[in-house]
Structures are given as C-alpha cells and as structure tokens.
Symmetry: C2
Subunit: 115 residues, 2 copies
C-alpha cells in the first residue's frame, strides 16, 4: 500500500510543466543539473528547486559519490500514481462507450427519418 501522503507528494510534484519536462529528460538517461538546465530559460537555482521537489517525492535520486552528482529518474512513484488513476479507467471507458452507443442510436434514428 502507498501512503496517502506519498501519493499526494507525487501528484504535487507532477503539477508543474517544468518538473514534468525534467522527468521527460531524465527518462532518456541520467543527467547533471547543468545538462538539465540547458533547454530551459531558468537559472541553476530555479532548476535545483524543482529537482528538490522531485527528490522529496522520490521521483529523482542523485548520486552521492560523483562530484557532478548526476540525477536519476525513479519510476516507482509514477507506477503508484498510474495504479491510482487506473482504478478509474473503467469509468471513462464506459462513459465513452455510452457516448458511442448514443451517437450510433442518433445516426440510426436520422436514417429512419430520411427514409
């Protein structure tokens, strides 16, 4: 079981486009803070602040031994967030099914009317 607070931290960390972009970058491989800052029009301290939020949520870890301390993505919290949302999948799929059925019915009715 994932604690409610861990899940809240994950969702809060994902609630920012820069942080999501940082995760997308790290999904392609480990990177240093300087490498991560490059595509953004942001200062290193601003990037570091975003990284700290991701670290607290367990989405990023930083190597201790190397001097440049590369960042690494940790996928586990993403999996737990996905698990939470997946519980609702049936809901939206059923709604779309019902919508599709309704549209089909509408079309049939129109065809009958124009006969």
């Amino acid at each position: 079981m994932v604690s409610a607070d861990a899940l809240s931290s994950t969702f809060a960390a994902l609630a920012d486009p820069t942080r999501r972009a940082l995760l997308a970058h790290l999904a392609r491989g480990n990177a240093t803070v300087t490498e991560l800052a490059e595509p953004f029009d942001l200062s290193l301290p601003a990037i570091s602040k975003h990284l700290k939020v991701l670290e607290r949520a367990g989405l990023v870890t930083r190597a201790r031994e190397a001097q440049w301390r590369p960042c690494q993505l940790r996928a586990r919290p993403l999996r737990e967030a996905a698990d939470w949302i997946e519980a609702y999948r049936e809901l939206w799929e059923h709604r779309f099914d019902r919508m599709a059925e309704y549209l089909e019915e509408l079309q049939q009715r129109r065809q009958e009317e124009t006969r």
Copy 2:
C-alpha cells in the same frame, strides 16, 4: 493535445487525500455537497473549497437547474493524466524486468556455487 496548464491543474487537484476521496465517492454516483461531507470530519465550507479545486480542474461539474446542485465526476481529465503517466510505463516495466533478470541470475549463480 492537452495544454500543460490543464494537466498541472489536474495533478494539483489530485494532490490531496480528501479530494481523491471525494472523487472516489463520486465514482459511485452523483452526490450533493451534504452527502459528500458526511464521511469526513470537515465543515461544509471546507468540502466546498475542495470541490471548487476539483471543479476548476474540470474533474467535477455541478448541475445548475436542481436546487441541491448535485456534483458529478468528469473522467476526461483523469484519462489525460493517465495518458501522460502511461508514456513512462515502459520505463518502470523495463526496470522491473531488469531487476527480475538480475535476481534470476543471482539465484543461478548461488545454485552453481552450492553444487
């Protein structure tokens, strides 16, 4: 395409255990604010505040005509959040695969050592 801000609003709305519990309640059917407040040790204004965050994120709509204005869950933002996270599924599945391979290798090595 979902705008970056819509996705941020969705994740921010999900970053709270009370709001996630409200969505879980609404997944079972529409409900009034009073009905939603019942299981929580929270005032009606506190629940209303959470509902407003969910409404702004497009996760909840409220009927205008009825006097009791029942709340309804809208699944679309959840589907979009799931789509975003799903892009990372391969990542965590591959990592778990690699972990499983490593454990298998370790076990085989041990079996060879004890022969």
